[in-house]
Symmetry: C2
Subunit: 335 residues, 2 copies
């Protein structure tokens, strides 16, 4: 296993301590608990709290979006495993400023189950909560069962919208409504070329043969739609856009933001080559790209591959996307 | 070969076109030439130009630092190969605002040879130039032959200092002097766990056995100091810091910036685990870390491994490091 760590058992704790050592002026562990990271940017009374949770191994997702204009808190579990409901409840309590808390996270059974318990738990503290699920991965379930889809890189756009709405002191219902509209307008699809290794497992949990590409694989290695012979960047961009557009039609005059998300082991050069193809294809159709995001936003550790997200904008969503945000791992100051 | 591209022959061109498609409002190809990227941020007459050049395959190095407060231009060659002197000369001419141009690049034979020719060439246009070489890699040559050392991730700090000095409208000699002082205060050392594949070669040019780690490997796979059995993150941090400190002593009360640079295939989690160790070791010694940089700054495509850079600061260098900068791939707005 070619990983730089101290031990598989301390992988998550050491990562969290690294974040606190580097960025302790802006984010920190809640009461020293390495399962919960909270923002230290001052949040005014009456601001809606935005929180998430999920497994480790996806940095910058989820932890990396805690900061100004995005998340107030994030709870993490072991690599690819949900954190406990109790940790989520602690986080919700810490992030409530009297206006309630929006729990915004990916559609995975463990997270859904635990967040429900956590939200019931904090009711006793008179904290109002709402829950919204990211289900942007079009490859994970067909359109007629879109409620079964998993949340992947498109969640980052949703964090951005929710965070900006909360910063504008919108109410919990208003923040929830605009974020729900954003989620309805986000689609993602990915391809994978190589697996990753969960530290405690110590070996890949699946293989992808040389010369093969897995279409639609999930960020935990969930099987995709099919395995194909290796494709060119242009072919990959075309297949992904066609699949996304079959699900969410795009028309001339539309404005979208595009995210090319490297899964970990795919160089920025290759991500840019795919962006080139996506951009050209959209431009041909008269679809304009606003604030492209190219880089690593939601990884599967060292997995090779990438995903493409398309976020269809309206005037309000565009303004919220552009509103300033700064976390240790994300800023749109240069986007 | 598990790479997402259209063809090895168009790898660099397609990457450059991807950059222009995504960020064409801020950077662009010089006269449509995919070998030269220039900043479109307005540079006032009388500002010293800051330029670099090098091989492709290291993004964000070198291209990613073209923008506001860093580089005015960058010429690139094929993967791991120097661009032609003619391209460098075109770039220098385009980046001169009447105050001369500082050429700041890594100590590699091809780049040195070609930059010398380019600087001689632009003398005929009455453009004054200076050249400074990054030689931060302590593992590439012993201290008594430090002039032979290669430039690696520490170059990014030098770009930041030079760019900020130029923005303050310092003269060419002043910019050169403060950047030279920065270079004297930067040391880097890296470790590698796996090789990378040059697209036109199609297979790894070397191997690192399972259970082995290469200490001091260069960003083109140049052999390091030794191959060792795999080490823990704490052991790696200790070995690197001891080697750097033997070269550049650190004392209680010193302020440094630390860069943990992922080489491509090493997840952010692992980089943060190493940062944790480096931070703790420096804190024990009374050395304070300012503006830590953790992420991918100078990669070798998908190579697994990382480097640690230490940049010893004085009051002026700290101020220049903190001055605003924004390129499509770098900003210190959130650091």
């Amino acid at each position: 296993m070619k990983k730089i760590l101290n031990s598989a058992d301390t992988f998550v704790r050491d990562t969290m301590e690294g974040i606190e050592a580097a960025y302790g002026d802006r984010v920190g562990l809640l009461d020293g608990d390495f399962r919960v990271l909270v923002s230290r940017y001052p949040a005014p009374e009456g601001k809606v709290g935005i929180v998430t949770a999920g497994g480790s191994g996806h940095l910058p997702l989820f932890l990396g979006y805690v900061g100004q204009g995005m998340l107030d808190g994030c709870a993490v579990g072991e690599v690819f495993a949900s954190p406990a409901a109790e940790k989520m409840a602690d986080m919700i309590r810490a992030c409530d400023r009297g206006a309630g808390v929006l729990c915004l996270y990916g559609n995975y059974n463990g997270d859904v189950f635990n967040f429900r318990m956590a939200c019931e738990d904090v009711e006793f503290d008179d904290i109002e909560t709402r829950q919204l699920l990211g289900r942007d991965d079009v490859a994970s379930s067909p359109k007629d069962r879109a409620d079964k889809r998993r949340g992947v890189a498109g969640l980052v756009y949703a964090f951005k919208i929710a965070g900006a709405a909360a910063e504008r002191m919108m109410t919990l219902d208003e923040v929830t409504a605009v974020t729900a509209r954003a989620l309805d307008n986000i689609r993602t699809m990915g391809v994978a070329l190589s697996p990753c290794i969960v530290p405690k497992v110590g070996q890949p949990t699946f293989t992808i043969e040389e010369g093969q590409i897995e279409i639609g694989m999930g960020i935990h290695g969930e099987a995709g739609i099919e395995v194909r012979p290796m494709m060119t960047a242009d072919e990959i961009a075309r297949l992904i856009l066609e699949t996304i557009e079959a699900d969410m039609p795009l028309n001339a005059g539309d404005e979208v933001s595009v995210m090319i998300n490297g899964l970990g082991g795919t160089p920025l050069e290759e991500q840019l080559i795919v962006y080139r193809s996506v951009h050209a294809r959209l431009a041909e159709r008269g679809v304009a790209v606003v604030m492209p995001h190219v880089g690593e936003f939601a990884t599967s550790m060292e997995m090779a591959g990438l995903s493409v997200s398309v976020f269809k904008l309206d005037a309000e969503l565009k303004e919220l996307l552009r509103a300033p945000a700064a976390t240790p791992f994300y800023t749109n100051a240069n986007k």
